[in-house]
Every structure is written in C-alpha cells, then in structure tokens.
Symmetry: C2
Subunit: 355 residues, 2 copies
Amino acid sequence: MSDERADLAAGPVCPVPISDYPTVQLAHGGGGKLTQQLIERLFLPSFTNPLLAALHDGAVLPVGGARLAFTTDSFVVHPLFFPGGDIGSLAVHGTVNDLAMCGARPLALSCGLILEEGLAMETLSRVVASMRDAAAEAGVPIATGDTKVVDRGKGDGLYVNTSGIGVVPDGIEIHPRRAAPGDVVLLSGRIAEHGIAILSVREGLEFESPILSDSAPLAGLVGTLLDRLGARVHVLRDPTRGGVATTLHEIATQSGAGIRLEETRLPVAPAVRGACEILGLDPLYVANEGKALAIVAREAADEALALWRAHPLGRDATAIGEVVADHPGRVTLRSSIGGLRLVDLLAGEQLPRIC
Amino acid sequence: MSDERADLAAGPVCPVPISDYPTVQLAHGGGGKLTQQLIERLFLPSFTNPLLAALHDGAVLPVGGARLAFTTDSFVVHPLFFPGGDIGSLAVHGTVNDLAMCGARPLALSCGLILEEGLAMETLSRVVASMRDAAAEAGVPIATGDTKVVDRGKGDGLYVNTSGIGVVPDGIEIHPRRAAPGDVVLLSGRIAEHGIAILSVREGLEFESPILSDSAPLAGLVGTLLDRLGARVHVLRDPTRGGVATTLHEIATQSGAGIRLEETRLPVAPAVRGACEILGLDPLYVANEGKALAIVAREAADEALALWRAHPLGRDATAIGEVVADHPGRVTLRSSIGGLRLVDLLAGEQLPRIC
C-alpha cells in the first residue's frame, strides 16, 4: 500500500477527494474513468486486502484444498424486459460469466431482490421464471436468497443482485498479468449487441429486424477452451460495461503490456453498426453480455479459434489483435485505412443502466 | 416436490396466485406471513434444489472436502445512519451473522452497491469507512465488489448487498431440524434494540438516553459455543426481521417440534420496553441485529450460558424456554401471570426497512 493509499484508508475525511465530483454521477456506474476513480480512490484503499487487489471479475481464494472463485454483481437495467432478455436472465448470465472469466466452473448462485412497493406480482413472477430458466440452462442452482421491499418511488420496479461461487480446476491460471507480448487476443463473436438492444427500446428505434441482446451464459464456451488448452489460456474477460475497449484497457493497465487491435477484424453486425452510427456510439465501447475475450499463447490460438467456432456461442469468433511489447499499458487500434489510434477510457457515461 | 409445487414451477402463469395481493406490498419484505408466502409460492417452486430447500440463513455445500456456507443479504435500511450503526456496518454484521448461524467461520464478503445519482460523496465515503471498520473488527476481508448507479428518484441514497462465504468446521451440525424435545432455547442478550433504535429516529422520539442498535458481528460469540460444545449445539439463528417470535416460529415449523417460552425470562431493557409500549409494538416481534438464538442439548445448556456470559456480546444471555413434545410446530409463551398464548407470525409489516 502506497503512502497515499494509507492516508486515504485512515478515515472518511480524505485529504485527496475520492472523486472529481461532490456527488455521485451516473457515470460512476458506467465502467469508465469515473468508475475507475471510485475503485482506486475509495474502495481499494478502504477494503485493502490481496483478494480485492487482484482486481479481477471475482476473487479467488483457497478453500479446503480447492481454489474457490467468488463474485458479485447488481443489476439495475432499464427497462426490465428488452429484446433478447430481461433483468432475470441477465442477472444469472452476468454472474455465471464473471465466474467463468476467473476460469471457474460455477457451483451456485445467490439471488438478492430489492422490490419496489407496487410492483406487479406478474412482473416479479416473470423475472423469477426467467432466472429459473437461465440458471437451469447454465446448470447452476440458485442456492440462497433474500428479498427486501422499498417504498414506492424509492426503486424502479426491481433490482437484482446475484453473487456466485465456483471452483477453478487444477492447472488453470487466469489473470490479466499473464498477458505477454506475442499472445493473441480472441473475441468470441459480434460486439455491441446488448447495449444497442437496450438503447433501441429506450429510444424507440425501429429496425428491419430487431437487434437482440447477446445475453448468454459463457461457462460452457470458456470451459471447452480451458479443458483443451489449460494454462495456455492466459486471460479471460467478458466485455460488459464499457465494451471491448474498456475491458482491454483494464487488461493493458494491469499487465503493463500493450495491446494492438485490428479494426477490420472487429465483428459487428451490419444492423448494429448502422444503429451505432445513428446514435453516435463507437461499438468498441458498447456493452456485451454474451461475449468473451481470451488472450492465449500464440501457438494455441488456432486451436482455440477452432474450438470456439465449433461452439454455438462462438461461431463468429475471431482473432482481433495481439499483445505487443511496444506502448506498454496501452491499447491501440489500427484502422481500416492503416492509421493507428489510441483506445482510451471514456470519461463520461455512454449508456447508463444497461446492466 | 408436491404436485402443487410442480404446477407452480411450470411457468410464470400460475394456477395458484403467488400472493394474496396483485402487487408487492412493504410487508412482503417484512419477514412475516407475506414474506413466507412469496418464498413458498414463488421462490421455492421456481428455484427448486436441495440447497435452497434447506431454508436456512445460508446454503451449505461441499467444496474440495470442506463444507462451504454461502449467503446473501440486501440492506435498504432507512435512515442510512442511526444510533449505534449505519447501513455499512449493518451490511457487514448481517452477513457475518448469517454465516455464523450456519455454524461457519466467515472467509470473505462481497460488497454490491446501488447508488442513487446525486448521493453526496461524503456519505458514500462514510458508509464505506464503516464497512471497512466492521469487516476489520469481524476479521473478514471484503474480497470482491460491484457498483451500479441509478437515476435520481430511483433509489434512496444507497442500497448495499453483502454476500458471504465461510467454512463449517468438522463435527458441527447446525439445522432447524435438529431441535428436539428437551433442548434448551438460549438468547444471547436483550431484545428489540435495533428495531426501536431505527424507529425512534424516524418518529423523532427522544429518550433520557438514546436507544442504540445492537448491531454487532456474532461469529466470535457463536464460535466459542461451537468450539466447546460441538454437535451439542443443534440450532443457531439471529432473530432479525420479525424478531425472536418470527425466528422461533420458523424453527418450530421446520423442525416440527414445539417451543415454549417463558415471558419473564425475556430480557428487554426498560427504555426499550417503554418505547415499545408508546409505539404499540411487541418486543418479541422487533428486529435484533446483534443477538443469537441457540438451541442446545439440555446437558450442555449451563456450560453454553456460562460461555456466552463470559463474552462481551453475551453478558445478558439467558435461557428463555425449551423445546417440547406437545403442540408440535408451534411456539407458545407462558405469560408473567401464568397464561399460555400462541406466538404466531404477523400478517402485516410492523417495521418496514429496518435492515
């Protein structure tokens, strides 16, 4: 812990402000710069411990000779139901995926509901049925739960927290630090579908065919890779809030390695690309809920791609870039016309409440 | 699974209504009859699995040769700061205590925050500092976390979910089903302090000395009992929402045993008793956040009481009743004048948003 952090940890009155803003902004929940600031200036110095400091999608700790992954995620998506999913299935997929990105096989989920007084029972029933179906599809039991009710006007229908536990098999070592020059960056499919699906509903946009969220459980897709390639899989992450750009930026920062992407390799469905243009969004920053990024040893890349393409959730998998020795800690993108640009974190909030 | 449950599990359109009400009421979160109804008619049939069916404060499942306890709790208490605690310390204590009531030694907590846009950073900072201090006192790391932000008017400052994992030591068997006639019911101290502390602030009541919440981490208090008495400790529960009455009612229902309480043995501080009379509340139904109930084998009761009374959090521990063979599945109270009355679940909501 640096001296600055020690100061911050000393108490609630901090010498360094925990944010550039005196109050919480929507962007503090957006996964970009302000979220990072909260984590670095408030949560890390306060809850300082080696598990949290790993800064992964979940903590991994030893239990009875096994390595247990433990993760949590709250879901506040608006609207509750959207093309391709709803808050219930999303909450199950999100936490199953966080476990999968630790290299873990999911064991059990919890379900914590915060209901707003006046919510229709039929809505609650639909969401619970959706959680049930998603958990069954992912093969994970919802093992424990809790329900709270808040007064009318103090919520937005319902919020869901799912936490999860899983076991990391022997021989698997997943961590951002393992990204090394020469490694290949794989993406399991087309990007930006979840964010655009949510935003289309909110903005009342109509397309020839509706854009569906990609929300899906990724433990199986990731499992095929780990079963066959073991420790040659170095890093796993699902590019949710902040999209592929933000996720790779975090990996570059944590590993100190550079990452170079090829714009022409980024798989984006034409309808999604069109919607992004209308909305003024860069698909590289738009959330996914059913895609995985894997950074694998170069000699394993072809086999990894073949494994993913043979899986229903990885048919459009592609190698989108590589880990490089130059520009350490940064992500660059070689554009379709050959220019190289820096992929930075967004300062503001592109899409509030998309998960 | 009964036929009725199978029907309910078939889909969101249920032949039996999941509630007597078409919309969510505050009482659905109160821990009483309506909460039970949601659990029995919606959650259990939907998420049917043996872990959830155990209906304990958490699930216990085998991991790598150990027994892992896993629990979740969301906190929506209003106001955020109250005499004796705040939502941060409460969230840590609540989940540490749920683990302790499974007989587990807490290993790690998660922290999921739902912040309302516009929340003062200073408030967030105070709550996080309180979580940090409470976790340090309980000796449990906050190992993983998540932060979401909702629009102004869609929350109430902040809500916290804490989930937790812990390990149940060998030789410990805690379960409501283990309550058996002859067992003694122990309570670790004075009741109703948390609920009255919250309500006093909300109602603007002033007392000669303020009534403080009893919010405290109980893993140590429970650990002393388990270390010395092992499997002679049969049941553990913390009487939170719905108080001692509701908690014992659940134990009686699950074990099929009767429980008889002695009213004169129930420890209630005079100021709390006075406040309950003013507010028209029965202290037996008012929430505690730092008290444990233990049901122990009769021959271990004296030693258990002595162990608790030697602990700072158990000085006022007392035997409040016993498990009996008559009136199976029910809780009765012998009043100070000798009459016997049935202690039933409350239908409505005595105290909304006290945790």
